[in-house]
């Protein structure tokens, strides 16, 4: 049923011929075309430096492309259209962006303030905002951090607070840059389950990763960004993961050496799917 719903659903985000470069010199994205349907889960995969985070910045309208067009719910997003307060507010309210580096995402005095920041900017009544924040803290098991200054958290705690601070917005679209970075294995599993559940509840999820095992866990539609900063292929998780030749050509799997007891041997490697001998 979910699949049929996605097939029929409208494009909630659409990128057409997007080009972006840093300082007008270093290319980050070249001729990107991608659309995301309502309720869909999409993964943007690629090696470090291929432009994954830049693409999420553009989708969230934090930076604007040198050329090309971004559409949100069929409306073109530009600096001008965002200056229209109701459109700007709708876009911000609809999209929650979890950055890769939680250090930069946390800017409020305490953890509780961090969770209340977005609901308050979006004019949610204070009681409802506080209730949301308390519920989220307890859901993520971090109530004990409530009054702590954010700079006094460990790496994993910062990541959890960054996730919580976006969840309190209750956005329809979640943009997540490297979802599992800085999380311990137990929290990684928890977060994967959470993403699946949120997607099942109808949230649109767009995330970046270079871990193929995460693609296997979440089974999203996949767009592969190459080192040439273009999207070379899109397809279902199984279509991409089963195309070994393609994954080797874009360096997402590679040959490596490892040991089994005292035996050293070489094989193609990706922690989950291609760990075969």
């Amino acid at each position: 049923m979910d699949h049929i719903f996605i097939e029929m659903a409208e494009d909630i985000i659409s990128l057409k011929n997007i080009n972006y470069s840093y300082y007008g010199k270093i290319p980050a994205l070249k001729n990107i075309n991608l659309s995301v349907k309502k309720g869909e889960m999409v993964a943007i995969i690629g090696l470090n430096g291929c432009g994954k985070s830049t693409l999420l910045h553009i989708i969230n309208a934090l930076i604007f492309p040198d050329s090309g067009e971004l559409f949100f719910k069929g409306n073109q997003v530009t600096e001008n259209s965002l200056s229209n307060k109701s459109f700007g507010k709708e876009l911000r309210q609809s999209m929650g962006y979890i950055f890769q580096n939680p250090e930069i995402q946390l800017f409020c005095p305490t953890v509780f303030d961090e969770l209340l920041f977005a609901p308050m900017q979006l004019n949610l009544p204070i009681n409802a905002a506080e209730e949301r924040a308390d519920e989220t803290l307890s859901f993520l098991g971090i109530e004990y951090l409530k009054d702590r200054p954010v700079f006094m958290l460990s790496g994993g705690e910062k990541k959890k607070v960054a996730i919580a601070s976006v969840l309190t917005m209750n956005p329809d679209i979640l943009l997540i840059d490297e979802p599992l970075s800085s999380l311990d294995p137990k929290t990684q599993t928890f977060f994967i389950d959470l993403l699946l559940e949120l997607n099942r509840a109808g949230k649109t999820i767009v995330f970046t990763t270079h871990h193929l095992d995460l693609i296997d866990h979440l089974q999203p539609r996949v767009a592969v960004l190459t080192e040439e900063h273009t999207i070379q292929k899109t397809g279902t998780a199984s279509e991409i993961l089963n195309d070994e030749e393609f994954l080797i050509s874009v360096n997402l799997i590679h040959e490596h050496v490892h040991k089994h007891d005292n035996e050293v041997h070489r094989h193609f490697h990706s922690h989950y799917v291609f760990h075969k001998h």
């Binding site: 911000r92 946390l106 209340l116």
Partner: protein, 308 residues
């Protein structure tokens, strides 16, 4: 893709004899500067730990603390007799005991600041050149008084009774103000104290900027400390001081550049979560009966001191 390891990496490490003969690098100036920054970071931890203690003083609302601080500092400035100032000193000391802070460490800092700004700086005011009066301690005697323009240097130069009274009063005022400020700093978490400025009508955006600046001081200190450790772990042998300075200045440039990138990214994070040029901060908890009782006691104490 095949790893081609450089052949030297497959050889044994540095000759032990060479290492034994290498001169120990001196990084004393570096040690002092950077370790001080690390100490600053640790003191923030200590402050935050103290602030989270469940004692009477720590539990008082930051709003009440801010109002009390302003009120008592005004009282300290208005009251001009020693007896009242000494009573205030004792009162603040009692508050420190109630807060269960490390009295010795805190008062060391307070007396240091009070000594510099309340004694050394104002001590010349007790000389008869500035405050005329009866000399009670003569320092120097010259042949005859000197006159130039509107000034006169008397024959005997020394401390006057009036002068010492003025200096001791200023010293007590500064001691009391500093100790009061320290009491608030050590018993209140910085973020909640900053937010209490809302009651004075300070805009949220301004408070947000102060909070961010505080956060970045912390991050910067930690980055400097980590840079220092990285340098220490990699520097060996005899390196010229000029080379070390070059290294440090390079790292400072790197830190500033990194800070700029962080600021930009933090701005994006704010925009992403609905920031549209005006920040709305969460207000603090409502005042409790204990807060009101504290305020009444402080106000009553201030009135009593004035009429003493």
């Amino acid at each position: 893709m095949e790893n081609k390891i450089p052949s030297y990496l497959l050889q044994p490490g540095n000759d032990q004899h060479e290492l034994a003969n290498a001169k120990v690098i001196r990084l004393s100036f570096l040690d002092k500067t950077l370790m001080n920054s690390a100490t600053a970071v640790k003191s923030i931890y200590v402050q935050a730990e103290n602030a989270s203690k469940e004692n009477f003083i720590q539990k008082i609302s930051p709003h009440i603390k801010l109002i009390s601080l302003i009120y008592l500092v005004l009282i300290i400035s208005f009251v001009s007799h020693h007896k009242a100032q000494i009573i205030i000193t004792i009162f603040i000391f009692a508050l420190f005991i109630m807060a269960r802070l490390n009295i010795f460490k805190v008062y060391k800092k307070i007396f240091f600041l009070a000594f510099i700004f309340g004694f050394i700086v104002v001590l010349p005011a007790s000389l008869n050149i500035i405050t005329p009066g009866k000399i009670i301690f003569n320092i120097i005697t010259i042949n005859k008084p000197l006159h130039f323009w509107i000034y006169t240097i008397p024959q005997n130069i020394g401390f006057t009774e009036n002068g010492l009274k003025v200096v001791s009063l200023i010293f007590l005022r500064i001691l009391n103000s500093v100790s009061l400020a320290m009491l608030i700093i050590f018993t209140t978490s910085f973020p909640s104290f900053i937010k209490s400025f809302k009651i004075l009508g300070v805009p949220d955006t301004f408070l947000m900027i102060i909070s961010l600046a505080y956060k970045y001081i912390f991050i910067l200190s930690r980055t400097i400390e980590e840079t220092y450790f990285a340098l220490r772990s990699r520097l060996s042998g005899n390196i010229k001081n000029s080379k070390i300075r070059e290294l440090i200045s390079g790292r400072i440039f790197f830190i500033f550049k990194k800070s700029m990138i962080i600021y930009e990214s933090t701005y994006y994070a704010m925009v992403s979560r609905g920031y549209q040029g005006k920040v709305l901060l969460h207000s603090q908890k409502k005042l409790t009966a204990m807060d009101f009782v504290t305020l009444i006691i402080i106000v009553a104490f201030g009135v009593w001191i004035i009429y003493l």
